[in-house]
Amino acid sequence: MSQYNWKILAVVLVAATLFRFWGTFDYNGFIGDEQLIVPSALSLMKYGTTMEWKFPQMNSLIIAGSISLFGNNPVGWRISGAVLGIASVLLVYLIARILFPESPAPVLAASLLAFDPFHIHFCRTAMIETPVVFFFLLFLYLMLEYCERGRPTLVWAGVAMGLTIATKAYFVFAIPVVIAYAVYRRLKRRQENIGSLVIDNAVTLTLLPMAIYLLSYILWFGRGYSLQEFFQFRSDAYWVFDTNYSFAHDQILSQGGKPWEWFVKPISFGHHLFNDGVRDRFTIEINNPLFRLMVLPSLAVVLVHALKNRHINDLLPPLLFAASYLLFFVVNRPFNSYSALALLPFAYLTLAHGVTIVGDRYRCTKEAAALFLGCVFITGTYLFPIAAGFLVPAKLYQPVLSITKLTRVF
């Protein structure tokens, strides 16, 4: 990697850290789903079960761990989200560097996630989405190291896969895509025996994740439940999701848009918290329209480029985007807009690669990347204060506020 890229990456990581830590622990009340997530973690510590028993328990274990370390306060509730959000930015960079070496795409993809006001907004609170995205990105990175560079990371990938499924089921369709890609690439590149490759993958990516998934319920087993009751418990959770799941806040659900709308129209809503005549405080969930609306066109660009040039590695981010998105259309339950966090890394990997393909086409890759990077930095820095709840002069944000559905809470 050139020194130039290192410097930009350092700036991106510093910005990602600043945006996810600055003022995150100032507010002493629960934000959004923290009212469920934090009591669930406390219940897990005290009674071995969570309030949100339908979901796997890994996120509650992480929050319970950070509460044990930092106390039952905003630091204990939110630090894991901030740290794993920053780590996700680094992982997006490392993944893109393997898939698109010698290109500006890694820095662009990492910057898109680091400066994304939607990602920043949710990394500053305790959420299930932040850790599950981190674990899946870690799994993907370790699988790419295994299949593209021949490194012995398969066992660690199995651990990361176990942590992913023990947190939330967002990536049930994306995980097989990664495994199929890795097996195909490994066969192509290293001429391995297919039998031993299948055995390695089957044992490591089946038994290890299942064991980790079971171990994540250790506190629940401590309540006296047997293994047979565990299977009943998980089938009951599936039954509740499939037949009897209702979302308590219909207004938030409708404001966040349906899954098909997440990448095709601007979505912005939130709370107006304070006004002193000069400055206002907002917390706004905005889907970063300037870049989100470019994802589907870039998907088309990348697909055409990949098929034309027979570049299988170009296909991976669009395939993962599609496989992760598929879940929202096949599961019979409503989804809150924050579920779009599970799609962002692949959306931005695709967009970043699309920008470099277009730049290459017109022989201005560096210029296109620099211009794009500038837009990402400026947009992200501009939107950060209203995504994070800082005091701002409302006049400065009129263009955004004019498309925002605001609920006044003062």
């Binding site: 044992v203 038994l207 401590g222 047997s226 009751e229 565990f230 509740v240």
Partner: protein, 199 residues
């Protein structure tokens, strides 16, 4: 197969088998049972939770021979809360709610309209927190295969039905280490003490 790879795969298989065995045995070892059987009489449903909490028992099956429970449109909210809290606190992990057959028609009608209840040949299954509540009339009740916490509300049962419940205990088909009578008479408590061989 190279030795290193074989060792790694073997270690993963051993790890997986250990976790399965651990999951199989760990839960049952965490259940706590009383060293001797007790029959308690309480006058209010608030005292039920108190009795369960002070007993120090954990991870247990409860059998409630009562008319109302959380899973029903309850009139006795405190009794309902006692069961729910006991499940949440880890005292109870599974509940069998056994109402009288005379009330079953009304209960069945009410539960079959609810989408959070699953109908089974024996009755209904509901879910509280992370545990199951099996709702079944006395005539279809099959005793649990482990010692249970028993809650009886004598006033809702006929004398014959009470004798039948007591007979389940005396015959050993239903094992119990804590029987709580809610608003029962001394005569009812005596019946259950005799059934359990306590004098």
């Amino acid at each position: 197969m190279p030795a290193k790879r074989r060792a790694l795969l073997t270690a993963i298989v051993i790890f997986f088998c250990s976790v399965i065995l651990f999951s199989y045995f760990y839960g049952p070892t965490r259940r706590t049972f009383a060293s001797r059987t007790t029959v308690l009489s309480v006058q209010s449903t608030e005292q039920v939770l108190q009795a369960w909490e002070t007993s120090g028992l954990k991870g247990r099956v409860a059998i409630c021979f009562t008319r109302y429970l959380n899973a029903l449109e309850t009139k006795e909210s405190q009794a309902a809360k006692a069961t729910e809290l006991a499940m949440n606190h880890g005292i109870i992990r599974k509940v069998y709610h056994v109402p009288p057959d005379s009330a079953w028609g009304e209960i069945q009608g009410s539960l079959s309209r609810r989408n959070d209840m699953r109908q089974t040949p024996g009755g209904f299954i509901g879910i509280f927190d992370d545990g199951r509540v099996y709702i079944t009339p006395l005539s279809r009740f099959t005793p649990a295969p482990e010692p249970a916490l028993i809650l009886v509300e004598p006033k809702i049962w006929s004398r014959d039905e009470l004798l039948r419940i007591a007979e389940l205990l005396s015959s050993g088909r239903l094992a119990a280490d804590l029987v709580i009578m809610v608003r029962g008479s001394d005569r009812d408590a005596e019946l259950f003490r005799r059934a359990l061989g306590l004098q």
